[in-house]
């Protein structure tokens, strides 16, 4: 048996409970990732994909159930206390970086994820600078020569690539990608996805990647999970995943959930 990296067990989460706007976002989610799993997550709007990622990241406490990362029960920990285990890239390229700070400062902040921040140690050291330069070269965006440039000067694609690098500077136990290419133009999205593949395969990172794009969901990763109404309704892996087509997926969805895959956004992308 290989090591379990992430275990989401019977997780429930309702927003605005007890009000007319009550929405059960997670309705008993179960999902287990083994070490090295690269799982793509698809599902219509409101299926609970982002909510599941936020539950793992600890954006808010869940109502019931439990979440374990690398054998550690993190259910009771706020986001900043779990951060040492988790790398995150957000949908909005503006979210993952600090715009008014330099590229090297952003990377240095990410390198210290999960460590206490001393008022006596320097924010960035010379040694780290060399390391950052090497790592930025992997992205192939010319950022290695702009270490002291403010991140606010970078394009959305560059910022997203930088966020990806920052999320993995300190090898995370689990990498959470929340539609991290959705806000980019197709060409840039492709580049960032290629960078994702590179980074993930280099360190065999255990990864959860939400996407709206079925083709991407099929092309990447070794497992594909489909969500609907706050539950995991499909979990395709191995051989079956490798042979999967978009048509198969649509067919499977309607047979499992008894309805058409309703989101236009998914069909058209």
């Amino acid at each position: 048996m290989s090591e379990i990296m992430l275990e989401i067990k019977d997780v429930y989460k309702a927003f605005n409970p007890g009000t007319i706007n009550e929405k059960i976002a997670l309705d008993g989610v179960n999902l287990t990732l083994e070490k090295g799993d690269f799982v793509t997550v698809i599902g219509g709007n409101g299926a609970g994909k982002s909510t599941m990622l936020n539950a793992v990241a600890g954006v808010w406490p869940i109502d019931s159930g439990s979440i374990q990362i690398a054998g550690m029960n993190v259910t009771g920990l706020p986001a900043y206390k779990r951060a040492s285990l988790i790398g995150r890239v957000f949908q909005d390229p503006m979210t993952g970086t600090a715009a008014t700070m330099q590229i090297e400062e952003n990377m240095a902040l990410a390198l210290r994820r999960g460590r206490s921040r001393s008022p006596f140690r320097p924010g960035v050291t010379h040694k780290e600078r060399d390391r950052f330069r090497e790592q930025l070269k992997i992205l192939d965006l010319g950022l290695e020569d702009r270490l002291t440039a403010k991140v606010g000067l970078l394009s959305g694609g560059q910022r997203q690539a930088l966020t990806l690098l920052m999320a993995t500077l300190q090898t995370p136990r689990i990498l959470l990608l929340d539609e991290h290419t959705a806000a980019l133009d197709p060409k840039t999205a492709e580049k960032v996805l290629a960078a994702t593949e590179k980074v993930v395969s280099k360190d065999h990172l255990t990864t959860l990647m939400i996407t709206h794009n079925m083709k991407d969901a099929i092309a990447h990763g070794n497992r594909l999970v489909m969500m609907s109404e706050g539950r995991v309704i499909l979990d395709i892996r191995g051989e079956e995943k490798a042979k999967l087509t978009v048509e198969d997926l649509l067919h499977k969805f309607s047979s499992v959930s008894g309805e058409e895959f309703a989101s236009d956004k998914v069909l058209l992308s």
Partner: protein, 323 residues
């Protein structure tokens, strides 16, 4: 006749005589500006506690010196008192969920009572340079300017070094992008509390220095400190950016923020020299701050607004008719 008499009474020499005292006071307000800069610019919080902590610093300093303390030690305790007041504002905000601006107002309001209590329930406590050894005094202006410059330089150096450390960077990240900070394991609430404490500590220190300069602490000495501090921050940044543009680094920025306080007080001295009614000084300051705060927004609006879009559309339509 009256006008000529008025202009004749305005001798350049009398302005020149006034300036040094203005510069000395301006340096002390420059320290306040450095404190305000931490919350207003780095943490993105408008913290109104400083109106209270400036006086707290003065009150603590005056009472300790009257009790026979060394003035430097007294100011150090004032700094500590400011730190604690900042922690209170920070906890009201982070632990109890009170909006930052209200948390600051509450602390400031509570400090009024506390400041009176510190000053033995008197609204004013004098500390004469004749009876005590002080760090500086308005009686010896040139010496006071030197002390002021050294103090400002030390504080700028300390802030420059601190905000380059791991913790300082974490505070800046918190002020810039909370989600990013959280995702990188930074305890956002802790950073806010530390930033608020630091800011109020510096402002209280400035209050302690001001008390020695003017020879007394007054219960109302902090009134409007936040506005003057903001004015100094804004004036300094505008001038610094005009002179250095993109070469404006953090050390220069801090220097100009402190210089903003000096420039503000030079303007005040000119207003006094013109024999304008000083009663309107507060209004003038508020107007200046309002204008500078509005400029970035108005600039954005002038580039793109519904009004402009409407006009453009109208013009395009009119052109179409003519053809």
């Amino acid at each position: 006749m009256d006008i000529t008499a008025y202009f004749q009474s305005l001798t350049p020499l009398s302005l020149l005589n006034r300036l040094p005292a203005g510069i000395a006071q301006g340096l002390i307000w420059g320290i306040v500006a450095l404190g305000v800069y931490i919350t207003f610019r780095l943490l993105d919080i408008a913290d109104l506690s400083v109106d209270g902590t400036f006086c707290t610093g003065g009150a603590v300093t005056v009472m300790l010196i009257l009790a026979g303390w060394n003035p430097y030690a007294a100011v150090a305790v004032a700094l500590l008192a400011g730190l604690i007041a900042g922690v209170v504002t920070g906890l009201l905000h982070t632990l109890l969920g009170i909006p930052a601006i209200l948390a600051g107002i509450l602390t400031q309001y509570a400090l009024y009572s506390l400041n009176l209590a510190i000053m033995d329930m008197k609204a004013n406590q004098a500390v004469s340079v004749d009876k005590f050894v002080l760090m500086l005094s308005s009686r010896y202006v040139t010496y006071s300017i030197i002390v002021g410059v050294v103090l400002v330089a030390l504080i700028i150096a300390a802030l420059y070094l601190y905000f380059g450390t791991e913790q300082g960077s974490a505070i800046r990240a918190t002020g810039c992008n909370q989600q990013m900070a959280g995702a990188n394991g930074i305890n956002i609430n802790l950073m806010k509390v530390i930033g608020l404490a630091l800011s109020n500590g510096i402002v209280a220190l400035a209050g302690g220095v001001m008390t020695q300069f003017q020879g007394y602490a007054d219960i109302n000495m902090g009134r409007g400190a936040i506005v003057i501090g903001l004015a100094a921050v804004i004036i300094g940044e505008v001038i610094g950016e005009a002179l250095f543009r993109k070469r404006m680094n953090f050390a220069l920025r801090l220097t100009f923020v402190a210089l903003g306080g000096v420039i503000y007080y030079i303007v005040v001295e000119i207003v006094l020299w013109l024999k304008l009614d000083t009663n309107f000084l507060k209004m003038l300051t508020a107007v200046i701050v309002a204008i500078f705060l509005a400029v970035p927004y108005l600039q954005k609006m002038s580039r793109s607004s519904f009004k402009k879009a409407g006009k453009n559309a109208q013009r395009a339509q009119d052109d179409g008719k003519e053809v």
